[in-house]
Symmetry: C2
Subunit: 430 residues, 2 copies
Amino acid sequence: MTDQSTPKATVSGLLPRQSAPENASPATGVSRRRLLGTAGAAGIVLGAAGAAAGYAAAPAGAAPLTSLGSNRVMFHGKHQPGITDALQACGHLVAFDLAAGAGRREAAALLRRWSATAERLMAGEPATHDDTAVARDAGPSSLTITFGFGNSFFDRTNLQKQRPAALDPLPDFSSDHLDKARSNGDLWVQIGADDALVAFHALRAIQKDAGGAARVRWQMNGFNRSPGATAHPMTARNLMGQIDGTRNPKPADADFDQRLFVPANGEPAWMAYGSYAVVRRIRMLLDDWEKLSLTQQENVIGRRKSDGAPLSGGTETTAMDLEKTGKDGSYVVPINAHARITRPDQNGGAAMLRRPFSYHDGLGADGTPDAGLLFICWQADPLRGFVPVQRKLDRGDALSEYIRHEASGLFAVPGGAAKGEYVGQRLLEG
Amino acid sequence: MTDQSTPKATVSGLLPRQSAPENASPATGVSRRRLLGTAGAAGIVLGAAGAAAGYAAAPAGAAPLTSLGSNRVMFHGKHQPGITDALQACGHLVAFDLAAGAGRREAAALLRRWSATAERLMAGEPATHDDTAVARDAGPSSLTITFGFGNSFFDRTNLQKQRPAALDPLPDFSSDHLDKARSNGDLWVQIGADDALVAFHALRAIQKDAGGAARVRWQMNGFNRSPGATAHPMTARNLMGQIDGTRNPKPADADFDQRLFVPANGEPAWMAYGSYAVVRRIRMLLDDWEKLSLTQQENVIGRRKSDGAPLSGGTETTAMDLEKTGKDGSYVVPINAHARITRPDQNGGAAMLRRPFSYHDGLGADGTPDAGLLFICWQADPLRGFVPVQRKLDRGDALSEYIRHEASGLFAVPGGAAKGEYVGQRLLEG
């Protein structure tokens, strides 16, 4: 967590792919996730020495994998993968409900199967049974698989006493247009990879593992910029063309872990080193947005579109001057600008790490693009992270005219599994 | 077209990204499309000297682009881009119908706008007006934009006399389950890029250019393996896990151009150096397919799943031994195996170049994955390419139980535009 040489990591709060810190975890005795396939500053290397084992390496005469394929994130660790790891190019979110008759025992067996599959696939190995071969020939491609529990899981498994208070349903927001069928769920799985077939392969393997124990409740696909498409040291752009995630907490912040992760002695005990994920499918009304002039768009956001700098001046990382006024005496950063309302110093600090995917499912029934952001934010406590910011946005964000929250989920994501352990074991066998 | 040093090119029939042949075109006087950002055998290079100009290079202090971003395909050339270029990681297909009241003049103006946009975006530059900035910071990322005309276009523009006979509607096939609303269309645009935001940005720019002249009829999203996810010299895999496109015609074949492209003196004259695209949305019934054993799957296809070799032995490129029998006297390659039926030597030669994208739109209404292949094949004459093969498949392909053709299109894709010309100008101003 000390590599500050890469601007991208500094800005986005996510580990760059080439970072390979290895911190021993006092809690689990296993090493923290690390990324193999070390690379130069631009994040690309030929024939990475760290090329993962598994079936990618099997065919005779195959050339060495390039780093995109050979990058590997470790499954075991203090925290689950897919939280502080670099954004991947492709993602799937899938929620499951336990099947009728399935309870704690079936859930434990499922999490055991899922953990075994995640470990194998993240190492570039085929799934144990009936692998579909869709990912064959490819490396792990930074695959991460992350598991979480929704509020309803604890009723279904008769584990109400273990349900975290932090899983209390999110408050209603006036801007919500939520589709319940695509919200929440007993179980949630986040899959990310830099290769679309690797990600799809993992999704199918996870679905197959569910067997008769759980059925898919909803499933969404997302994407981010491909590694190497830009070497520009800025944060990701979203489908509105805006730079997104500028004010994420930084790994170098003294309170980074504290904001993101439940402490070792936190409540409930099984959530030690875990985190809470708020998932919002935020549709962007792009036909309306793109009718605005550049100046209008920048006034809605409060930042320059080109480089993400505040309208009050500087660069992407310059602090916003909230009091600066223009010739006409009005604030340069308008009073209802999105970035003014969401600025961390007015919301108890940057208490959440945003790690989203964009989505685009073609044309919606109304003929406008069904596209936007699979907003995913991570925090030790949603009541200090997502909720207060969203409450403020709900009361006067200029951006609200151009977006619509169409689905919502809140999930408890336990700490990472130690070797020999499965994710959630401390809950399910606690 | 002479670079045979890269096995992938040999196998797939597509130009590798690092290939940079430059053939003067006698017809247009402009150089053939070529790929900048030359790279080593693994297709990756740092700080490519060929990094494209345009806004990717603009921000002060930006590091050089890696080759994924800097790879550039030329817009001008003998043929349109997106036909023999390497498969890209992301694709959009979009069909338009001319608006009520729009005719030949409006179509000509639209193709002029589209060509100008395609040229700029493929060079990594922003669109002329109101660029959304979604692709800002990224390089061209092998972006290609390809334009075609459907049968109905010629009625709408009163150009019936220019309609190619090859655009006669495809025959009905008994296995068709076609959705007419997602089939055909007056105009067709194929977008491919190695970065999802670059591809999305191009899609929005093309839609914006349509203005009041045309409205979107249907739109589909697809993907392929990311560059660098594998260095294995095999052809792409599809979502069934099968290697796909093994028997594509090869650039080294003496009749490669003849099979793919309308000759200089072909009919109609405006289609010189053009090609015909057959587009089929082929849903894969993956829940059924994945219940088959590996042996059952291999017997359906007639090839080994692991490496694509014929069941009669050898490697992916070994010719299939159709007469070989097993101990029980039955053919080793079953009589209804997909690869036996589609083998080029029984179908007038490999008369079409398959250049597909996979697709995955989440769960369908029936709860099974809405996933499969955006099959796109290119040929000088659909009646010698797609049609005879599909007729044979229609009569007894073992694979037909596991796939469903859900949409279909046939488009005339004119030759590439010379400098100062727009795509289709020879038709619209002929």
